[in-house]
Amino acid sequence: MSKFEFYEKEESPIPKYEVKKEISDLTILFIIASIIYFLIAGSLALLMRLIQSNAFIFVNPDQTLGLFYASLTIHGQLMFFGFISMLTVGISYYLVSKFGKKPLFNINLAILSFCFLNSGVIFLIIAGTMFFGAGWYNLMPLTFHSGNDGWSISSAVIFLVGDVLIGIALVMFCINIIATVLSGKIAAGIQKTEQTKLDENNNSTEIHEDSINKEDKKRDESLTLQYLPPSVRWISVLGISSWFPKKYRTAIPAMSIVVVGIFVNAMVQFVGNFGLFIQLFTGFTYLLNPDFQPSWLFTKDAWWFFGHPIVYFTLFSFLGAAYYYIPRYARKIISYDKWAYRSWPFYFVFTMTVFTHHAFMDMPNPDWLKFIAQTSSLAIIFPSGLTIMTIMMYIFRSKISWNLTSLFMLSGIAGWAFGGYSGTQTGWWGQDVYLHNTLNIVGHIHLTILMGSVLFAMGLIYSIIPSIIKVAFNKTLGILHLLLTLIGGFGIAFLFTYLGFAGFIRREAIAPDEFAWSMPLMLFFAIIVGIGQIIFAYNLFNTLNKKYKFLSKHNTIFYVAIISTAIAGISHILIVSLFMGFESKPSIFLLLSGIIQIFWILPLVKRWGRIWYLFGGLGTIFLIYLFISVQFDMKFVLFFLVTGLAQIFWIVPYLKSNWSRKRLYIGIGISSILILSWLFTNPPEKIFGLDAPYDDISMSLEIMQVIFIASTIVLVIKEKDDSISHIFQKLRHRAR
């Protein structure tokens, strides 16, 4: 146990460089945000499984289809951008600073990238609540032509704006990393530790402990800050020098393999981002000018020019880290290993050309593009094969300590290799024709990302968080997390893969009778993997809490109250969206007020002070006034909207615990009234002469209300302090 507690204490050289607190704090923020989105996106996966298992959520079957496709779309993009890219960005900042032994080029740019990425992701979620469902690759022009009664243009615009913000965040990240690596001094020189003696002295297999320890010490100093001229720097950081003959190889200062991975990642994504912007630009132009007739084929190619790099984006930073962390726990000498570096020039080139295999089935695409696709698809397997073998050789016959990091990383290698095989199969045109758009492809994605990149990332989290906050994770929970993830993850990914072979087409809201037998199995595996992630999130937040103490028992009840009332409030608005659509003036209004409200979280979380909360309260009243002045004929909609907004804002008094106890009574009172009126507006009684919704959303909403009331009662009993709110005191003070 003690050995496990601080990975840092194990004998193994880690750069003796303290990452600045502002960077490591930012990394923790990225990690927290990503896990939250992970849970949301994971719940959407469960929802999809439920719908495919014939659970009709809405009375209207069209809406159930819509819910499936909205979930599919948001699941895909949220997993990519909210979860795994968020992790990549956050962890890369930390690692590049640690292993480059220097601060980031610009910390403010990094903070800004956090804000942009998160606002973009929140836009995606909003678009999802409006049932936007063009799929994660958002194949234009479907985005703008949902067909009868599908999603609205406004939801498409919100989604695209979200993608714009995400694209900007990614560019910020890439620029920051590239500039950090290319400017000023950077840690380099590890190639000096290449084992010269061993290659020549064939007989000597026995090395004495003494000399080893000496070498160990030397290794600590093998990465020194130095200035490299640009040409040398490029050759070094892309791993090209590793292919040089030994004489030249050892003359070029090599950077840490971790830096190489992150740099290649940033370079490839920087180029790939242009594809995203071309797609978005085409989309917006088409929207503004319907006569504009773009080549949708080109737009699709452009998207994949971005879409394939973003898949590798989730991997490269972590792969670079795996090259470091696995030998570290295997207690092998971390000398310069040319084979670790030799993959990277290939990754660099072929990640940018391999995108074309997504367009294999587009017959009008020129033949040379298909040729590039087939060639690059096979070519990118080459560096992957090298990587897997090199890392396995680090483990082979080593005294590896099986901690959570090494276990997760080894599992990641397995998942990635399996996904690689299935990718090898679809990488040929003659086989893709049978597998394209079947669940086989979905299996491939989940093998390579869920069971590859994500496992690498989780392994890193298990190592990085303790080394930043000096608090260990609970190992039992960690092992449980690993087991559940392996069972559920491989289970669902292999099912996808093999069902695809049998012809189960992907993106089918309605599972055909032929495959009905597979539905309970898939649901089972999805639930298993889901439980694993909930355990992980609990372990993570619990560990962080030991350091930051944001989850005292008292606070927890507050969170429950806040979250339940927030969900209730959001669902009220959701009901509005289902009843009235988003094509009118009120829809713009709703949008604005929604966005403002989301940004309003900032002063609350940062606890800027009571005066801000007062602003918030007044602002909400003003919003409600605006809302009333916009013409509505539906009293009913009005009622739910007002109460919804009021409920969301009810968070404020809860966060500021020095508001008086009265607020709790008021909270209970208002919610009870809401529940009563909901009961009354439902058939057979209709107070307003309109049918109140009696579907699953409003039911779960009322459950939230009950939870809210219950937690509030607990607060009333527990909280002895009955003083009058400070804010009113202060106001009174000022008035005098």
């Binding site: 067909g147 070498e215 094969g385 090298l386 082979f396 394209h436 993106r507 809201a509």
Partner: protein, 228 residues
């Protein structure tokens, strides 16, 4: 799974896709387990220096591995060339009789134009789609009219889209879902062309294979192949 057709049995590409993948996964799993077990060997001494890696260096193990992987990939690449669409379709000679079928796809219908005859299979709402389903046989959705082709004749499918991207796919049987015989994307604004020759008479399901909006699962039709 019973008597489902597997993609690998169908024509292009290498056979035994399922088997090769399974074997590769099993071999890799075995290799990983072997490597894990190797860490329990008594011969290992706890040292900073890596004996195993040293031996591998000595025999240039990774160099040979790299050459091996590269070799296999080049072989695959060479194997794959004849199945590239341009190569595969080059075999179709011009003096062969070719049965041309024009297809229009839209949200959410298939329209076939088979020498002067047009048939449109349309479902614009889930109610309509369900009405269609009421006439169904045990196999799921069925339409009253199909396109007819003779076994052995080369068919040239020319597909256009009226609105968004669709995917024209023919499945291996008349089941509502089965392995795919052939498919191509139907990109709006282009003539999308695919040549195909049916061997066996029978009825085959046509399905949209590219997600095209909420009623995408209902974009179904069929094609009947007659014996010559």
């Amino acid at each position: 799974m019973g008597e489902v057709n597997l993609a690998s049995d169908l024509g292009f590409g290498t056979p035994w896709l399922v088997e090769t993948l399974t074997v590769a996964i099993l071999l890799t799993t075995g290799f990983i387990i072997y490597v894990i077990l190797s860490t329990r060997s008594n011969k290992i001494r706890l040292s900073g220096l890596d004996q195993a890696k040293y031996r591998l260096y000595k025999y240039h193990a990774e160099r040979y591995w790299a050459i091996f992987v590269a070799g296999i990939l080049i072989w695959f690449w060479y194997l794959g060339i004849p199945w590239m669409p341009s190569m595969a379709f080059d075999n179709i000679s011009e003096n062969q009789t070719i049965h041309v079928i024009k297809i229009t796809a839209g949200q959410w219908f298939w329209e076939f134009e088979d020498g002067g005859y047009t048939y449109k299979n349309n479902s614009n709402s889930i109610e309509q789609a369900q009405l269609l389903q009421e006439n169904k046989s045990s196999n799921g959705l069925k339409v009253n009219k199909e396109i007819h082709v003779k076994a052995g004749e080369t068919v040239k499918f020319i597909a256009n889209s009226e609105d968004v991207n669709h995917g024209f796919g023919i499945l291996a049987s008349s089941k509502s879902m089965d392995s795919i015989l052939m498919q191509m994307q139907v990109v709006p604004g282009y003539d999308n062309v695919f040549y195909y020759t049916f061997d066996k008479p029978g009825t085959y399901t046509i399905r949209c294979l590219e997600y095209c909006g909420w009623l995408h699962p209902y974009m179904i039709s069929e094609i009947t192949i007659h014996a010559t």
